[in-house]
């Protein structure tokens, strides 16, 4: 079990969290050469350090988590909205 130190919650198992799907924040205007289909579906799923939104269902809090999707190393977790 992998643990990480979360603000407000302390040390938690990361299995307690579920990540948000992409395409959450609807753009007000799509860029010219991007279709709605591109915006919804395109991904860049290569190993990289990325920021994700994780939901902790027991406390109903969203976190912003910096993680390496290649190694699963977590660098930082903060409450999505302080």
């Amino acid at each position: 079990m992998k643990f990480f130190q979360f603000p407000l919650l302390g040390t938690r198992a990361i299995s307690e969290f579920v990540p948000a799907q992409d395409a959450i924040l609807e753009p007000i205007d799509l860029e010219d050469n991007i279709s709605a289909g591109d915006w919804v579906y395109e991904r860049d799923s290569v190993p990289k350090i990325t920021t994700e939104f994780w939901y902790h269902s027991t406390s109903q809090i969203w976190f912003k988590v910096e993680r390496n999707t290649g190694t699963n190393q977590i660098y930082r977790a903060e409450v999505l909205r302080e």
């Binding site: 079990m1 992998k2 643990f3 990361i14 579920v18 948000a20 799907q21 992409d22 395409a23 959450i24 924040l25 609807e26 753009p27 007000i28 799509l30 279709s35 709605a36 289909g37 915006w39 919804v40 579906y41 939104f53 939901y55 269902s57 109903q60 809090i61 969203w62 699963n72 999505l80 909205r81």
Partner: protein, 964 residues
Amino acid sequence: MSRRLPPQHEEWIDRKVKIDFWFEGEKFSAYKGDVISSALIASGQKILARSFKYHRARSTVSMANHDANVILETLTQTNIRADVTHPVEGVRYQAVNTFGGLKKDLAQILNFFSALLPVGFYYKAFYRPRFLFPLWEKLIRGMTGLGKVNSNTGSWRQARKQLFCDVLVVGAGPSGLAAAEYLGRTGLKIIVVDENDHVGGTLGYRHNTDQSAKEFKDTTIKNLANFSSVSTLPMCYAAGLYEGGTVPIVGPDGIKEVHTKALIVATGSYEQPAVFRNNDAPGIILLSAAERLMNRYSVLPCESAVILAGNPEAYERAKNLKKIGLRIAAIIDLSLGPKVHEKEIADARKVGIKVTKITSIEEASLRKGTLDSITVITEHNQTEKIPCDGILMSVGWSPASSLLVQAGAKLSYLTSLEQVIPDEIPPGTYAAGQVNGIHEFKSKIDDGLAAANEAARFLGCDLPIISRPKREGRAHSHPYPVSAHPKGKEFVDFDEDIQLNDLRTSWREGFNSVELMKRYSTIGMGPSQGKISNMNGVRVLADLNKKSPGAIGTTTPRPFTHPVAIGALAGQRFRRYWRTPMHQCHQRMAANFEENGHWLRPMTYGAGSIQTLIEKEYVAVRDAVGIIDVSTLGKVELFGPDCIKLLEYAYTCKFDKLRTDMTRYIFMVDGSGVLIDDGVAARFSDDHFYITTTSSNAHTVVKQLRLFSDLLNLDIAIVDRTRQIGAFNVAGPLSREVLSKITSQSLSEADFPYLAVREFQIANVTARVMRVGFVGELGYEIHASANSAQTIWNSLMEAGKPLGIMPFGVETQRLLRLEKGHIILGQDTDGMTTPFEVNLGWGVNLKKEQSIGKNSLIHLKRQTKRQLVGFECTNTKNLEILESNLIVEGDRILGRVTSVGYSPHRKGIIGLAMIDSTDTSTEAICIKDSRGNLIDAQIVSTPFYDPENLRQLTSQGSDKISIK
């Protein structure tokens, strides 16, 4: 004939307690502390098992769970490892995978046909002609597998415990104990585990003649017991290392998940066998197996032993065993040159042991199924046959490094030691002792101390550096303990009966890397996972490839170290069971429940056929009044100035026209425009809303609303009230009359119109009441706190009794709403349905600045390909049509039925169907039932019942939740 020795210093048996058990129909005795194998060998039993493929006679090899030769079963348990399992009084054990018992095993015949069963034989035969393969397969399946499972036994589950520590020390031999004691002094929280019944490792069976070793062991164990920060767990093995430093420790009472900050791996190494003809015969064991048998269980492995020496320690170890009663016929030295082991040989000869230097082993010979002699080629190229009933092998080691590799370490081959050692171990994990290529007793202790010192400093302890001892300059493993024989039967892997020639053939057929060879030959894939076969496999492959073993690499050791029982892994059975506040009311009314997620909901009430029950409840709602528990709906309360902003982002509609104290139907799409939830929104004020969601999505909607609110930085409080509030619907023409009896609130059209929401007292309980309904009758949805909802329910039932009130279940509700043409999300919609396909386009506002799924919806509006329609079959009364039956047109599939039922109102079958809407003028459709019959149906407009909505709506507004 007993092979039991007089009491030994370190023995693990308690000679005062005798245990009788049965093996293959014969009675045997053990002492408490014996394992099954030791007790059997003590009684002179030579054959303990049959091999997997050729059914050759086998016995133990390692006495330590490093091999999986001796696997037994009882009536209720299977795949019992006899080398590490204590016999239980009165239990009848037998060997697995025999046909007619161990002695007479009919499948022994396979041994004679083994030439026909070369490596990968099953890839090369049985497929022509094709129709015969199932017969071959049946035959193969009959032969395969180890033990039988008894499907009549019940389940058992062991609770898993969570433990946290600073340093976990795996292995309590000299290095592990030294490390633990050092760490104990730092005050760090330490857990020490060892898979054996007692701690000490080699201190108990190899270094036990050394006085200083004995002192070290006694003092360290005593000291450890005095540290409150150290807990020692014998009989527990570390099954694997997982991300974040989790090590499941498997013991007799279940699994402890140890979460550790640092890990010391002092797991020792697996002694490796030599490969020669008939090297699998009972009686040919590792020298360490003999050490364990004699020192732990006080059992003599054989009457007359030949020691196969491929490393210097063979001599010292042989002498030690000789001291406690082992009769040594000879030491045969698998020599690498004239000077090698010169001193050891001279010393051995001095104490009267015959030593023969050999270049290779010809074969082990058997008489009547048991070992009789070994034939060797001496250094002078003479053939020499040495009679013996035991061959004890000391030819090399392979580190028990799986945890280290799982931590990220690499393995490299050290030519000076002729063995693999861990390399590039990531910080936080430390290797100590024999697993680290340290063989000498004092150095093992020093290595343990150094590892502990590194671990403590890693955790921030300010301690002077202890440096690692040097690895010895001479080899402890023979670089190639392999003697080929033209007739084969030189086994490299005992689990899988893999012979030397099998590996050669694999190699020649192109399976010439360690991974391909493993998969083709199945070396290392058996129950012991290659602990005593992989290294020899690598040596053979290196030889074939003319490379060093280091250039060959190794396969990745995956969890588990030893197999783990499903019942231990499963843990306790935790399931969520949620009950609505009215649950007891339903029970009293003899509800027939169905599971709905974690909830239980009444399907119908009372006894009788489901159709009769539905009909009774249906009539009550349509003609009088019914009541249904809807507490499972998600309920969310929103407070704050940004309520509308959030709702307009999350839902498809605008909220500016929703007046205070009114409600409306709302639905939600995801980013791709697919419908994911619907419900009702009530506006109490500009900054106070109350919304409901479908039962199954309650959690998801709250999650999404919170995410949106956080991302948009909205000033809003979102309160999930799903399980705080009970809710039910009172519906039917008499619902107003019933409700008015228990409230002083005016329910008149003017005071409480359709779609309005009010808060008032019912039966002296504060309730929130919405005049909405799913079933198409005048109705009220009442929400009240979970602890008082039952009071209202009971009062309503009481007040409604004279009017014929009946509770109704979800089955009846499904029919009622179908007549009304209302959709159920997830039933009438699927994972791709857009609002436009189910005629909800009226509720989609695409002019909002920002709203989830808006850009997709703009696109999807133009390419709506399907349409949900109502249909009716006037020519059939029987319900042959089932939900998910297809709408067809010849070979083409036009769509499917999503909801169907018999409508008492229309006196016929009605339903909803999702069809390809390329042709909107279609009036007739053809439904194919599950038996393939075609049934004609007409497309009709919905609602099927009360299309003007007169029964719900008597003053204003229009219910737009209808179809076509």
